[in-house]
């Protein structure tokens, strides 16, 4: 799940460190839904209800939106990471390929 760090650019010479704060944030964004939803005991209750829907149900549906927002954040950050790395590498024909 947090294997994103392994997606390294192919040229080892000018490579920045594999684990950067940005990548840690990406990994956390992707991990958060797993922690929240697999810890069933944290939300296995009926109160507070929302428009009559017990907590158990609306909370998990809210996580659809939260998770989607987190994945989107991870996507944006990852693109930024790849762009930064793409620019740092040789500016040959490959540039932009990975980051797009």
């Amino acid at each position: 799940m947090s294997d994103v760090q392994e997606e390294k650019p192919p040229t080892p010479t000018t490579r920045p460190p594999t684990v950067t704060p940005l990548r840690v944030v990406v990994a956390l964004c992707l991990l958060a839904p797993f922690v929240a939803l697999l810890w069933v005991n944290s939300y296995a209750r009926t109160d507070p209800a929302f428009i009559g829907i017990p907590f158990f149900y609306w909370y998990q549906m809210a996580w659809v939106l939260i998770s989607s927002a987190l994945t989107m954040t991870a996507y944006q950050l990852w693109q930024r990471d790849q762009r930064a790395r793409g620019a740092g590498r040789d500016r040959g024909a490959r540039e932009g390929g990975v980051s797009r």
């Binding site: 799940m1 964004c29 839904p33 009926t46 991870a74 490959r94 990975v98």
Partner: protein, 545 residues
């Protein structure tokens, strides 16, 4: 259900069905390529789909008619436990975000069409690739059969399923027609047909859910009343076990099962051949990442749909077969014409995944059994021919399965299929990130997972069934009840890791890896990645072999 034919609903249903049939055949001309006689064209739509087509296609593919019938049916039957489909479909996307783009890249670079193609290329092992292919085909067949079960449920409620006494041919004729049509346009248009029909399917589904989730609770007196009535109903002891028949919130004992089912199912979903087929048909790596952020909209819809299970209880729907609960709810609550729209949504919802699944299974057979073992020098045109024919056979097989056997057999096999397909994950996802695992270790690990999973599922009894009564059993060593597939998967990984150490110590031959590190991050537009626009060279013989 058999109290006469609902004429208005049936007419609306037939109109929609005719419309998508025409679309299915016209799809051949949509984004037509120069070289249509290649498997890239027929089986992957020319690998040309952009973000929105992919979104509809994947949504239409993953959230099947059976899902629409079965998830609310599970909620109707047991309450909270059936809601695991929501965390399951939430967890899929952060998960596949990490590995699908890599699979897309390496597949484009080397012209892989199936997951087994990748496994063979990565590990240089036809045996391992065959294991993955056979697992994929076995897991997909009952899944196709279940789509038929979904159509049957709708036909039954409309009153055209026939009584028990009717001659079997008359009784099953509507289903035979539906499937004949499906088979014909899949044969002629390939993946383009479901891609185009998916637009109709999803639009209908979203419309029906939006209406249902507002209209039905208003008629039933609001969600407060709905859940109060459902809570009362679940508190009643079930005649079979004497225990309450369900709950609004999972108790302590059910929480492990809930979490492991959600996690195991999420891990398994993108191991299914049809998920990968839809993924590889996309135009670029970015299309996939972007889709992981917008596909959850379907999960939200699935959550709302699951709530319909409670509404069916509150509305006093009583059915022996839980599968009929939601179609019956629609028929009771909606005016006839809109019930017809809702039934069309479910019916068409079955056609899209059934088409993609049969294409995916056919591709697996063609590439990893026919080409690897029977006719290594097959041309792209021959491959396409074989795939088209196999896609027909697969569907006929599913049809025979559904018509000749009890529905529970299809459901049992689908349950087993989920456990089986998860066992291909170490080879596939492991292989995408590392070449450390040894191919023989992966093969043995797969075998152990398959045997354990099958045996454990066989041993599960339910009040109505002696074997295959469910997908959860005690996890050895932990003592909690959990999803068998996940337990088997953990066992599989442990065996694979241990044996990899042994194989490395013995210096067992590793096989040739035809991929390089940069293949996994390549994108469309990079030099030496084949350009995948339909007019380009994607029909050329594979550059690798």
């Amino acid at each position: 259900m058999t109290d006469g034919v609902n004429g208005v609903a049936l007419t609306v249903f037939i109109l929609f069905f005719l419309a998508v049939t025409v679309m299915g055949f016209l799809a051949t001309r949509w984004r037509k390529a120069e070289n249509e006689h290649s498997l890239d064209e027929w089986g992957l739509g020319g690998r040309s789909f952009g973000t929105w087509v992919t979104w509809f296609l994947l949504g239409g593919d993953l959230y099947t008619a059976y899902t629409f019938v079965a998830v609310p049916a599970a909620v109707y039957a047991a309450g909270a436990a059936g809601f695991f489909a929501v965390p399951y479909t939430v967890l899929i996307y952060p998960l596949v975000f990490t590995f699908l783009p890599r699979l897309w890249s390496v597949s484009h670079k080397h012209g892989y069409i199936t997951t087994s193609d990748f496994v063979r290329g990565r590990f240089g092992s036809k045996g391992l690739s065959l294991a993955v292919a056979v697992t994929g085909i076995l897991a997909t067949m009952p899944y196709i059969a279940l789509q038929l079960v979904g159509i049957q449920a709708v036909l039954d409620v409309m009153g055209v399923g026939g009584d028990e006494g009717t001659h079997w041919f008359v009784k099953d004729l509507p289903l035979l027609i539906a499937f004949g049509v499906l088979a014909a346009y899949t044969y002629s248009s390939g993946l383009r047909a479901p891609a185009l029909i998916a637009f109709v399917k999803d639009t209908l589904i979203y419309l029906v859910i939006a209406v249902a989730i507002i209209y039905i609770p208003i008629k039933l007196g609001g969600f407060d009343d709905v859940f109060a009535k459902a809570g009362e109903a679940f508190a009643q002891p079930s005649p079979a076990t004497g225990a309450p028949r369900g709950a609004l919130v999972p108790g302590d004992a059910g929480q492990w099962g809930y979490a492991t089912l959600a996690l195991g199912s999420a891990l398994a979903l993108f191991m299914y051949p049809h998920s990968i087929t839809a993924t590889l048909s996309s135009r670029s790596r970015d299309v996939i990442r972007r889709n992981t952020t917008i596909l959850p909209l379907y999960s939200l819809m699935l959550g709302l749909l699951a709530l319909l299970g409670f509404m069916a209880i509150a509305a006093g729907i009583k059915v022996d077969n839980g599968q009929l609960a939601i179609p019956q709810l629609f028929e009771t609550m909606f005016p006839d014409w809109f019930a017809g729209v809702a039934f069309a949504a479910i019916g068409i919802g079955a056609l899209v995944p059934a088409a993609i699944m049969s294409i995916a299974a056919a591709n697996l057979f063609t590439r990893n059994i026919y080409k690897d073992f029977i006719k290594p020098d097959a041309t792209p045109a021959q491959e396409t021919k074989v795939s088209k024919i196999v896609s027909l056979l697969v569907k006929v097989g599913a049809l025979v399965f559904v018509l000749s056997m009890d529905k529970t057999v299809a459901i049992n096999f689908q349950l087993l299929g989920g456990i089986w397909i998860l066992q291909t994950m170490p080879a596939l996802v492991g292989g995408l990130f590392t070449r450390w695992f040894h191919r023989w270790a992966l093969l043995v690990g797969w075998g152990v997972g398959m045997v354990y999973g099958t045996a454990a599922a066989y041993g599960v009894a339910s009040p109505t069934q002696k074997h295959f009564g469910g997908s959860s059993a005690e996890i050895p060593g932990i003592g909690e009840i959990g999803y068998i597939g996940l337990t088997a998967f953990v066992l599989n990984v442990v065996v694979t890791v241990a044996l990899t150490f042994v194989m490395r110590a013995l210096k067992a031959p590793e096989g040739v890896d035809e991929t390089g590190p940069s293949d996994y991050t390549a994108d469309a537009g990079d030099p030496d990645v084949r350009v995948e626009l339909p007019t380009a060279t994607s029909g050329d013989p594979d550059p690798v072999r």
